[in-house]
Structure formats: structure tokens, C-alpha cells
């Protein structure tokens, strides 16, 4: 085979999921932090900082789901039933927080209700996604092209730990985003919260990283046998480097450095997970080649993806550029 389409698609899906995690991560994080900012003027600015872009961010989640069905249908058909309850929770959370962007401005009487919908929905989404991650990492049994476990299998101490880790991590992304996009006392408070969230994120990453290898012999071999063991040195070093950049950025009042460093932490954590279970897409039941759709399907959609994904990145970048800089508290939406 000249080109390994399944591998190429695994890379594209991995990119889409990563794009989703870091993009929706910060706007979910803004929602998670909502209860810590009781003042309405702060909340208005926080919401306006993500209002023009959240919808585009969430589209990556649709690409992750739709794309998985298109190119790895067997993975889609086994992972989703296995994660049934957290997926439903995530979808319901997304509904509450998504509509809050509009509803909150449409009512005075029920504004507090939609504030809670935004905050609660965002937190539920983050927890659910973290739990889904944990449940995937700990493995999903498959027999005869179908999920072969129980419907509570996703709930374990490990998946709860990953759930909390993602919640904390998204809060860090949100807090550093606010440092970048806001001014005055709101920014100061976000800076303090960023420091707390950064330490908590580091601890959470440490716990999950030390726990993961002992879930599955495959992961243990990955991290502690040559040559992949080299990542056991490189990845933690890079994590510490990002953490340092984050800390310095916060101390020296940088606008964008803390946010970019926090993104770096997410990319590294994501890479670490990928290193653990590649080439499995459903650990440890299905590899990317087991789950891949027929070549005709992979090639047909790849043609579109190679043209359209760069175009998407250009106009998404343009939309971010249009709304660049600090949020003007007086340039409200409604």
C-alpha cells in the first residue's frame, strides 16, 4: 500500500479532537469559573470574550463525532455505547451552556438561572469528557463488532480522577484566556486563579500519568521499555518547561504567554495519552486498521478534508483575528 489512509485519518481525527479540546476547553473553562465571579459586569465581559467563537470551537466536536463515524465506524459503534451515560450527560450539559449564550441576554428575571446553566453545563461537560477519556484509556471490551461490557463500566476511580483532571485543566485554560482577554480587577482575579489552577493541573497530570501505566501492561511497556521509554524523560521535562513559562508569564504580567503555555500543557498531556495507546483506537480491542472504514470511504473524505481543513483554519483564524485584543466592556452584544 502506497499511502496508509487509516494512519492518515487517525492523525486527522487526533488533530480534530485536540483542536476541540484546547478550543472548547478555554470557553468551557470560562463557564467553569463563572461562579467565582459573582459580579454581573465581570460575567458580561467573560461571556462576551467567548461569545463570537464558541460555536466554531464546538464544531470540532461535531467533526470528531461525525468524522469518527465516517472513517472509523467500528470505533464509533463501540466507544459510544460503552460511554453511554457520560455522553448523554455531556450532550445535556452542552445544551444548557450553549443556549445560555443567547438566553442570558434575553431575560432579567431568569438571568441567574441561565448563569447557572452556563456554569453548571460547562462543568458537567468537562467532567463528562474527562470521564470518557479515563474510560477509554482503561480499555473497552469488544466482541463480534459490538461493545461487550456493562453500562456502568465507565465509572471507576481512575475515570473519576481523569474527570477531575480535565475539569481543573479546562479551568486553567479559561483563567489564562481571561488574563489575555480582559483588563482591570477581572484580569487580576483571573491571574490569581490561573496560579492556583496551574498548580492543581500539574498535580492532576502527575497523578493520572503515574496511574496510567499500571492500568494495562501495554502502557507499562510503552513507558518503561526501550525505545519508547525515552518519552518518559522528554514529556515530563517539556511539561515542567511549559509550567515554568506559565509561572513566569503570570508573574511578569504577560498577556498571552500564560494561555499559550497552558495550551502547551494540554498538547503534551494529549501526546502522552497518544503514546500510551497507539496504534489502538479502542484500547486494547481495536487498532486503527481494525476499525477503519473501507478504502473508498477513507479516500473520498480525505479528498475533501485536505482541501477544506486548511480553508477552515484560515477563516477560523480570521474570525479570531477580527475579535483580537482585549474585550471592551462597553462593546456589549445586546
Amino acid at each position: 500500500m502506497a499511502v496508509d489512509l487509516a494512519f492518515l485519518w487517525a492523525a486527522i481525527i487526533a488533530f480534530a479532537v485536540l483542536a476541540y479540546v484546547i478550543l472548547d476547553g478555554f470557553d468551557l473553562g470560562v463557564g467553569i469559573l463563572f461562579p467565582l465571579f459573582p459580579e454581573k459586569r465581570h460575567r458580561d465581559v467573560m461571556m462576551n470574550s467567548v461569545a463570537p467563537i464558541w460555536d466554531g470551537n464546538e464544531t470540532w466536536l461535531v467533526l470528531g463525532g461525525g468524522g469518527l463515524m465516517a472513517v472509523f465506524p467500528l470505533a464509533y459503534a463501540t466507544i459510544l455505547p460503552a460511554l453511554y451515560a457520560p455522553i448523554i450527560a455531556m450532550l445535556l450539559g452542552l445544551i444548557f451552556r450553549g443556549v445560555a449564550f443567547e438566553y442570558r441576554w434575553r431575560t432579567k428575571r431568569a438571568e441567574e438561572l441561565w448563569n447557572w446553566a452556563f456554569a453548571g453545563g460547562s462543568a458537567v461537560v468537562a467532567l463528562a469528557q474527562g470521564i470518557m477519556l479515563g474510560a477509554l484509556v482503561q480499555g473497552i471490551p469488544v466482541e463480534n463488532r459490538a461493545y461487550a461490557g456493562g453500562w456502568w463500566d465507565w465509572l471507576t476511580p481512575f475515570s473519576i480522577a481523569t474527570g477531575l483532571a480535565v475539569l481543573i485543566g479546562y479551568a486553567l485554560l479559561g483563567a489564562t484566556w481571561l488574563v489575555m482577554k480582559t483588563t482591570g480587577d477581572l484580569r487580576e482575579k483571573a491571574r490569581t486563579l490561573s496560579s492556583i489552577a496551574a498548580i492543581a493541573t500539574l498535580v492532576a497530570m502527575g497523578v493520572v500519568s503515574l496511574w496510567t501505566p499500571f492500568l494495562e501492561p501495554l502502557y507499562l511497556a510503552r513507558w518503561f521499555s526501550w525505545p519508547t521509554a525515552i518519552f518518559s524523560v522528554i514529556v515530563p521535562l517539556l511539561v515542567l518547561g511549559c509550567f515554568l513559562l506559565l509561572a513566569i508569564g503570570l508573574r511578569d504580567q504577560h498577556d498571552s504567554q500564560p494561555f499559550l503555555a497552558a495550551l502547551g500543557l494540554f498538547v503534551l498531556g494529549y501526546a502522552g495519552i497518544g503514546i500510551s495507546f497507539y496504534p489502538y483506537i479502542v484500547p486494547t480491542s481495536l487498532t486503527i486498521w481494525d476499525a477503519a472504514a473501507p478504502q473508498e470511504s477513507l479516500a473520498f473524505l480525505l479528498f475533501g478534508a485536505l482541501i477544506l481543513v486548511p480553508v477552515i483554519l484560515v477563516y477560523t483564524g480570521y474570525a479570531y483575528w477580527v475579535f483580537r485584543g482585549k474585550v471592551d466592556p462597553h462593546e456589549g452584544y445586546h
Binding site: 461569545a51 463570537p52 460555536d55 466554531g56 464546538e58 464544531t59 466536536l61 461535531v62 467533526l63 463525532g65 461525525g66 468524522g67 469518527l68 463515524m69 465516517a70 472513517v71 465506524p73 464509533y76 459503534a77 466507544i79 459510544l80 455505547p81 453511554y84 451515560a85 455522553i87 448523554i88 450532550l91 445535556l92 452542552l94 445544551i95 450553549g98 443556549v99 443567547e102 438566553y103 441576554w105 434575553r106 431575560t107 432579567k108 428575571r109 431568569a110 459490538a146 461493545y147 453500562w151 472504514a293 473501507p294 473508498e296 470511504s297 473520498f300 473524505l301 475533501g304 478534508a305 477544506l308 477563516y315 477560523t316 474570525a319 477580527v322 475579535f323 456589549g332 452584544y333 445586546h334
Partner: protein, 472 residues
């Protein structure tokens, strides 16, 4: 709690419930996005402020409807996997890439430019802002194209082979996309979206004409909506007829259910206007029928033979009563739309368009008719496809996930509660926005929103919101 139900039935109920809620929002936002593009184009061309004011008014409503469409749509894109995993595994290689193209070519386009359209006018200038609005409108149409290609393939599948794993494998993508029912379904649905929006815009215009709040704005949108209705309603009836003939060719059992033809008619079939389908005894009770008219409509000949459901094994028949009624609801509403359009044309000719209060009242009553017709139409085509998901090739019963009824049942209950709460609130906010059309800037003597402020909290909120509109 859910032991009495089987998982397949619950999964079907969940799909029907979530997709019915979902379709309402795109049906409205496809048409509204195009209407917004027209309004902004007219504003740039003619420089009459009324178009800009209408644009801002409908833009806020669009934002709400679009947001609800997005979140209810994400549910759909995951439900294939949670409840219909066997379908996903087997049909994913064909349906998946079509939906993948929808995301890549439409969803990102809409989402990327929606932010600029809603928040960016002061940042990008009028030309680029208009471009953003156009991209949102084009995005909604591209999205409709892909999802209807996918849906139509499930109705009239072709261009595929099967592999050893039992998966549908694409053999000819051109044949998959341009399957026999796709062009008809696409035209029928896009016209339905335009009609739905025209009826809503017309109802809001008529409401404010009756209230005399803002004659210029209300009159402008009412007139535009009635033109749309007058022109599109007859085209839609024609398109629906053609769609029906296409269905007769490829899914005869669906047409038999729509017509209520349990028996075959070798010498011309009657058109059953109304009656009570008696599925158990396989007949229509108390049928009111016109002899031979069905043959004339479907075969263009008074004595053309038409086969009935007696030629279809009982277990492969669609549930006739549902399809029979939903089809009649859709058709009746379609003709009511035609009637309203023609009436408005007559009033226009008599220079009574802005004065005939009975016309305005009728337009208000017909405001939600488009939504009902769209839902009835989808029920007809989807329930009429039963008992298959992929018509003739994959049974619904064989498509469902190996999941416990309790899981499907409890998620169904959560969806029902959350949807009614959340989308109920959203509908309330939309209706409230619709009822608060700002007054025309110069006109009535009693104008003066400042003086009325403070009487009731509701009015005050309205004025605060209106103040916000000008700031954008």
C-alpha cells in the same frame, strides 16, 4: 421502570423526539439566513434604513434559533453511535463521509462567520459584514444538501456493495449522492424552509400591522413575506407532487400507506380524502373517496391499476395510520398556504394589503403552519420508510445498539425534560422578541419610549434591549 418496553422502541422514540425538535430550528434558520442576506443586500443597495432595522430585528431572533439548532444538532451526531451502533458500523462507510462533508463544508462555514455576523459589524465594515451574512446563508444551504443526500440514500439506496463484515461499501459515490430521491427531497425541503420562514415573518409583520406599532417596518416585512408565499407555495405543491411520483416509483409501500390503499385496484384507484385507517383489519373505515382520482394523480390515467398493501407482507408494511394522517395534515396546510398567498395577491391588487385586517389575522394564525407541515412531512417520509433504516436492505430492528432498555429509557426521559425546559424557554424568548418590534423612527405622535419606561419591568427590559440594538 422500562422493562415493559424493548430497547428498539425506546431508541426509536428517542430518535423521533430529538430529531423532531431539531428539525424545527434548521427549517426556520435556513430560510431566515437567506432572508437576512436579502435584507442586508437591500440595505447596501437602496440605503433605506428600514432594511437595516429589520435586519437587526431578525438577526437577534436568528441567533437564538441558530443556537438551539446547534445544540440539538450535536445530540443527533452522537445518537447514531449511542443508540444505533449497528447501523453506524454497517452504514457508517457511506453515511459517515456525507456527514463529514457536511461538517467540513457547512458547519464550520456557518460557525466561523456567525460570530462576525452577530458581533462584528463595527469591526469589519459593511462589505465584509455582508459577506459574512452570505456565508452563513450559503452554509445553511450546503448543510441541507449533504444531510438530505444522506437521508435520501437511506430512502433510495444505490451505488454500494457489501463486504464480509456486513458493511455497506461505497462503489460509486456519484450514484450514492445523486440517488433517485435526492433532487426531489432537496427541493421539497428547501422550499419548505423558505415557506416556514415566510409564514413566520408574515405573521410577525401582520401582528404589528394589527397593533399599528410600526407600520413601515411591519408593512415591509409583511409584503416581502407574502410575495414569497405567493410565489413559492404553488411551486412547492408541484414539487411535492413530483416527489410523490418519485416515491411511487422507488418506495411504493410508502405511497400505499399515504393513500390508505390497503387493497389493490386493478381498474383505477380512488383518492381517499378522509377515513379511519384500521390497520388490524387492513382497511379504511368510513372512507370518503373520489373514484379513480388517485390513479389520475399518480399514473395520469383514470383506469391505471394501482397495487395496494395486500401485495406487501404484513411485517414489511409501514405503520399506515401515522403516515395516512401526517400526509393529510401536510397537504391541507400546503393548500392553506397557497390560499393565503393568493388572498394576499388579491389584496395587493386591490391595494388592501396593509389594510385588510382579516388577511392579517389569517397570517398570524398561519404563523406556525410551516413548522407543523415540515414535521408532518418528515413523519410521512420517515415513518413511511419503516420497517427499514436503509430501505429494502437493513431493518430498523437490526440497526439498534446492544444496549439495555433502562439506559435508553432514562436518557429519553432526560431529553424530554431538558428539551421542553430549555427549548420551551427559547421559544418563549423568541416569541417575546417577535412581539417587540421597535417603533418606526418618525411617525406616530404617541411615540416616546422614554416616557413609558418604568411602568412595568417587562417594558423596561424591552427598552433596555432596544437601546442595546443601536449600539451594535
Amino acid at each position: 421502570m422500562f422493562e415493559a418496553f424493548d430497547a428498539t422502541l425506546l431508541a426509536r422514540m428517542q430518535f423521533a423526539f430529538t430529531v423532531s425538535f431539531h428539525i424545527i430550528f434548521p427549517a426556520f434558520s435556513i430560510g431566515l439566513a437567506s432572508y437576512l442576506a436579502v435584507l442586508e443586500g437591500l440595505w447596501l443597495w437602496k440605503k433605506q434604513t428600514v432594511y437595516l432595522e429589520l435586519f437587526d430585528f431578525w438577526k437577534t431572533i436568528f441567533a437564538l434559533a441558530f443556537g438551539m439548532g446547534v445544540v440539538s444538532g450535536i445530540v443527533m451526531s452522537y445518537q447514531f453511535g449511542t443508540n444505533w451502533s449497528v447501523f453506524s458500523d454497517r452504514v457508517g462507510p457511506i453515511i459517515g463521509p456525507l456527514m463529514g462533508y457536511e461538517v467540513l463544508s457547512a458547519f464550520f462555514l456557518e460557525a466561523g462567520f456567525l460570530g462576525i455576523m452577530l458581533f462584528g459589524r463595527n469591526r469589519v465594515g459593511p462589505g465584509l459584514h455582508f459577506f459574512a451574512t452570505l456565508m452563513v446563508a450559503v452554509g445553511t444551504l450546503i448543510s441541507a444538501t449533504w444531510i438530505l443526500a444522506a437521508n435520501s440514500w437511506m430512502q433510495t439506496p444505490q451505488g454500494f456493495a457489501m463486504n464480509e463484515a456486513g458493511q455497506f461499501v461505497p462503489a460509486d459515490w456519484w450514484a450514492v449522492i445523486f440517488n433517485p430521491s435526492f433532487p426531489y427531497r432537496l427541493v421539497h425541503m428547501v422550499l419548505a424552509a423558505y415557506l416556514t420562514t415566510a409564514l413566520v415573518v408574515g405573521a410577525v409583520g401582520a401582528l404589528h400591522l394589527l397593533r399599528r406599532t410600526a407600520p413601515l417596518r411591519a408593512g415591509t416585512m409583511f409584503s416581502m413575506a407574502m410575495w414569497m408565499l405567493t410565489i413559492v407555495a404553488p411551486i412547492q405543491i408541484l414539487a411535492g407532487d413530483q416527489h410523490g411520483l418519485n416515491t411511487l416509483e422507488h418506495q411504493p409501500a410508502k405511497v400505499m400507506a399515504m393513500e390508505g390503499h390497503y387493497q389493490s385496484h386493478p381498474n383505477g384507484a380512488p383518492l381517499i380524502l378522509f377515513g379511519l385507517p384500521n390497520h388490524a383489519d387492513q382497511r379504511i373505515d368510513y372512507a370518503v373517496e373520489i373514484p379513480r382520482l388517485s390513479s389520475l394523480i399518480l399514473r395520469h390515467s383514470l383506469d391505471a391499476p394501482l397495487a395496494g398493501l395486500d401485495t406487501v407482507p404484513r411485517e414489511l408494511q409501514p405503520p399506515v395510520p401515522i403516515v395516512f394522517w401526517s400526509f393529510r395534515i401536510m397537504v391541507c396546510l400546503g393548500f392553506a398556504m397557497l390560499g393565503l398567498g393568493l388572498w394576499s395577491l388579491y389584496c395587493r391588487w386591490k391595494s388592501q394589503l396593509y389594510a385588510n385586517e382579516w388577511l392579517h389575522r389569517a397570517a398570524v394564525v398561519m404563523g406556525p403552519a410551516g413548522f407543523v407541515a415540515v414535521l408532518a412531512g418528515w413523519v410521512t417520509t420517515e415513518v413511511g420508510r419503516q420497517p427499514y433504516t436503509v430501505y429494502g436492505h437493513l431493518l430498523t430492528a437490526d440497526s439498534v445498539s446492544p444496549i439495555a432498555a433502562a439506559a435508553v429509557g432514562s436518557s429519553l426521559v432526560s431529553f424530554i425534560i431538558v428539551y421542553f425546559l430549555v427549548f420551551g424557554a427559547g421559544t418563549f424568548y423568541i416569541l417575546r422578541l417577535m412581539s417587540r418590534l421597535p417603533r418606526d423612527p418618525s411617525g406616530d405622535l404617541d411615540e416616546g419610549p422614554i416616557r413609558t419606561a418604568g411602568i412595568t419591568p417587562g417594558q423596561q427590559t424591552a427598552i433596555l434591549h432596544e437601546g442595546g440594538h443601536h449600539g451594535r
